[in-house]
């Protein structure tokens, strides 16, 4: 068993709050069990900047700017199985609240009006990711293989989902794991 190739896993957060990553860490001591069968590629834990060939990619957060698309497409190219985790990745979630507000109004409020940032100008540095008119769910930009709902999904849910997937079973979550009230 120990000689078997480890499953390679990458994770990232686009327009999200890292809450889903926190929930992943919440599996606590099971992290040691997990690390016996997987190894991390790009994640906030490894600080690897670009995703290489992987078995599983987990994406948190919605798509709110051009950089998100580059990251997402890199994940899709490299990951055999792509998972959208949490409400933001699946529907746009909290960041998508801005979808009802005109982008120009957002920029004015943040950069131009009094109490906004200093300098009274809208930044145009090419290094800054350029925002979309709206925040989009991940599945509208790339093909998604699995959706893991929750805000965030509980540590147990993530553990069950990952172990199912790693052991080659179709992931199955009972209703208690999909219940939020």
């Amino acid at each position: 068993m120990s000689e078997q190739r480890k499953i390679r896993l990458a994770t990232c957060s686009l327009a999200g709050c890292f809450g889903c990553h926190m929930s992943l860490l919440d599996i606590d001591e099971k992290l040691f069990d997990l690390l016996k069968i997987i190894e991390f590629d790009r994640t906030p834990f490894t600080d690897i900047k670009h995703c290489g060939p992987c078995d599983i990619g987990i994406v948190e957060g919605g798509v709110s700017n051009a950089e998100n698309v580059h990251v997402l497409k890199e994940f899709r190219r490299n990951c055999k199985v792509l998972v959208a985790i949490g409400a933001c990745a699946i529907t746009g979630g909290v960041p998508a609240l801005r979808n009802n507000i005109d982008l120009w109004d957002c920029f004015q409020e943040v950069y131009l009006y009094e109490g906004g940032l200093e300098g009274n100008q809208i930044p145009n540095d090419p290094e800054l990711p350029l925002p979309f008119d709206k925040v989009y769910p991940v599945y509208e930009v790339v093909k998604v293989d699995y959706f893991l709902p929750g805000c965030p999904p509980s540590a147990d849910t993530i553990w069950k989902f990952l172990t199912d997937l790693i052991e080659g079973r179709e992931p199955k979550l009972d209703s208690a794991m999909l219940r939020y009230d």
Partner: protein, 597 residues
């Protein structure tokens, strides 16, 4: 809106409350009247209604928010709603709407700055044979063209009340092209009732059984069984309801029956009332047919005067029955019988759990029969002429005749009555269909039939229909037809169950994606899976049938969508680079990172 903007609102509304006996059951009727007085439902009116009817404010707002024809925001003195049924679209309504908006400097869905008018679209208004059609403050406008819209614009600029507009704008024709036994033979008011009283209730029920009459609203349940189950159910009161919420796009036969055969329909209700033991009946009239209200009230008054309604009908002591008309307010879902009953009780039109069925627990939890307009007209004929006469027409499982509302690409749209078992091809020949390529039978919730199937027959054994038949000639964009249906269902889902509420929205998005040239093979798979979930998991018939047009298109008309598909396995749902355009304009950036391939 602040309450002080309507200082007199309580004095204005109290007479309305009094007229409806301050009954919470009449909430929808009260809200309709408020809408007619103010052209919208002011917040102050909601507070006032809640206080006088002694119901929570949330309930009033919940009902007001549910129905399309009730508006919580000011919609102007004139509210024009263009019918966006596929036949109206083919007759040019989208272009007419743009023309009208352009002419009056309007944006669809927004009120003009002087608060004078607003323009928007609405689901099928039931004028498919004389479209393009629209509603102005609830009154139907037919045969619209540029000249008529110019006239309407002038009338609005002159602030002429809608009741003073030229009657020709509101002319609605019956267009009966082929009459059978139901439409062709005259009926003497009272004949069916006299026969019922002579024969007795049990014997008349036996005639219904012998006739084999099945419901004409689509489901085709045996009328005799429904009536006898209701008759046998214990309850303080029994009710009979005529379902005239003809909302299926492309259907307009009930409009003609209510306009020219109202006596026959009322007679059928009264016969039913006698058999099930009801003393009260409701006619649930869809909001779009509000223009028929006055005329129907007159028919009821005449029948009361003639002793055919009211106390001791035809001198039979203890035979008391009367009919009350209840107006809908623009909700397709209310055609479903349990949603209709909820609406009758002044609630949101949300389908109930079944069982229990309305025959045991219906209106106010009492035994209730809900029958389609045409079914009741047939029942009256059977009561007068006997079950055997009726059963002699049609096929083994589908006795009698069927009234079809035919529209679309044909020379003679209108009303056609045929005995059940008629082949589709024969109907297409009769109505002068031009090079027909596909026919939508029974509206979006029915079946999309291809030319290979034109030998199929209209009957419950083969092609069941509630009455709509929309013809599409070769060259019509069927994807656009299905897109129209997908938008219709997404708009009309009541929102109660997730498979339908979310499913209809996702279905709409994916069909739009394909129509906008972003579709791929994986989207087709997604549509099939989604359709399966909606068909198997939805709460009521709306969700069960909402995927029909999409699934029929996928199965029978690959030519209609395949050229639209990208070759890739996946395509984003939107134009990625286009979605950055706004931010590029704001920041003035045009560097490589400000673009996506």
């Amino acid at each position: 809106m602040q309450p002080h903007e309507f200082p007199q609102i309580e004095q204005q509304l109290v007479p309305v409350f009094e007229r409806y006996g301050r009954e919470a059951n009449k909430l929808l009727q009260i809200l309709r009247e408020v809408q007619e007085i103010f052209h919208f439902i002011p917040a102050a009116a909601i507070t006032c209604i809640a206080a006088h009817l002694d119901v929570p404010r949330t309930r009033v707002e919940g009902v007001a928010g549910f129905y399309s024809f009730l508006s919580l925001k000011s919609a102007g003195e004139y509210r024009i709603l263009f019918s966006d049924n596929i036949t109206d679209q083919m007759q040019g309504n989208p272009e007419l709407m743009r023309y009208f908006c352009h002419k009056l400097w309007l944006e669809p869905g927004k009120v003009s700055e002087d608060n004078l008018l607003s323009v928007d679209s609405t689901s099928c208004t039931g004028m498919c044979d004389q479209g393009p059609a629209a509603l102005v403050n609830g009154w139907p406008l037919t045969n619209l063209d540029h000249a008529r819209l110019d006239l309407i614009a002038e009338l609005i600029r002159d602030r002429k009340p809608v009741c003073d507009w030229p009657p020709m704008l509101f002319e609605v024709k019956d267009n009966i092209r082929r009459a059978g036994t139901l439409l062709g033979e005259s009926c003497i008011p009272g004949a069916a009732l006299r026969a019922t009283l002579e024969r007795g209730s049990a014997a008349t029920l036996a005639e219904m059984e012998a006739s084999g009459l099945r419901g004409r609203g689509g489901a085709g349940f045996s009328v005799a069984r429904k009536w006898s189950m209701c008759r046998a159910s214990a309850g303080e009161q029994h009710y009979i309801v005529c379902n005239a919420d003809e909302g299926e796009p492309g259907t307009f036969k009930d409009r003609v029956l209510l306009h020219s055969y109202a006596d026959l329909v009322c007679e059928g209700m009264t016969v039913g009332a006698r058999i099930i033991g009801a003393s009260k009946g409701f006619l649930y009239l869809r909001g779009e047919y509000r223009y028929l209200l006055h005329q129907l009230e007159q028919v009821l008054a005449q029948r009361r005067a003639a002793g055919l309604l009211g106390r001791n009908i035809l001198g039979e002591s203890g035979f008391d029955f009367d009919i009350e008309i209840h107006l809908g307010a623009g909700a397709y879902i209310c055609g479903e019988e349990s949603a209709l009953i909820e609406s009758l009780e002044g609630k949101r039109g949300r389908p109930r759990n079944r069982p229990p069925f309305p025959v045991t627990h219906g209106y106010l939890d009492q035994p209730t029969v809900v029958d389609n307009v045409e079914t009741l007209a047939c029942a009256a004929r059977i009561a007068a002429q006997g079950g055997a006469w009726f059963a002699a027409m049609g096929t083994a499982q589908s006795s009698g005749s069927k009234i079809l509302s035919i529209a679309g690409d044909c020379a003679r749209p209108g009303i056609y009555e045929y005995p059940f078992g008629i082949a589709l091809q024969e109907i297409l020949d009769d109505c002068g269909a031009e090079d027909p390529y596909a026919v939508q039978v029974s509206g979006p919730s029915g079946i999309l039939v291809s030319a290979q199937e034109f030998n199929r027959r209209i009957c419950f054994e083969d092609l069941p229909t509630a009455g709509a038949l929309t013809v599409f000639r070769r060259g019509r964009d069927l994807l656009q037809v299905v897109q129209n249906s997908a938008h219709f269902f997404a708009h009309e889902s009541c929102g109660f169950c997730t498979p339908c509420r979310v499913g209809t929205q996702l279905q709409k998005k994916i069909v739009d994606k394909i129509a906008n040239d972003h579709g791929t093979v994986s989207d087709l798979e997604e549509l099939k899976q989604l359709g399966h979930v909606m068909q198997t998991m939805s709460h009521c018939g709306l969700g069960h049938t909402a995927a029909n047009p999409v699934l029929d298109l996928l199965q029978k008309f690959p030519d209609a969508y395949q050229h639209k598909l990208k070759k890739l396995a996946f395509e984003p749902a939107f134009d990625l680079d286009g979605a950055l355009e706004t931010a590029r304009n704001i920041t003035g950036r045009d560097d490589a990172w400000a673009h996506l391939p």
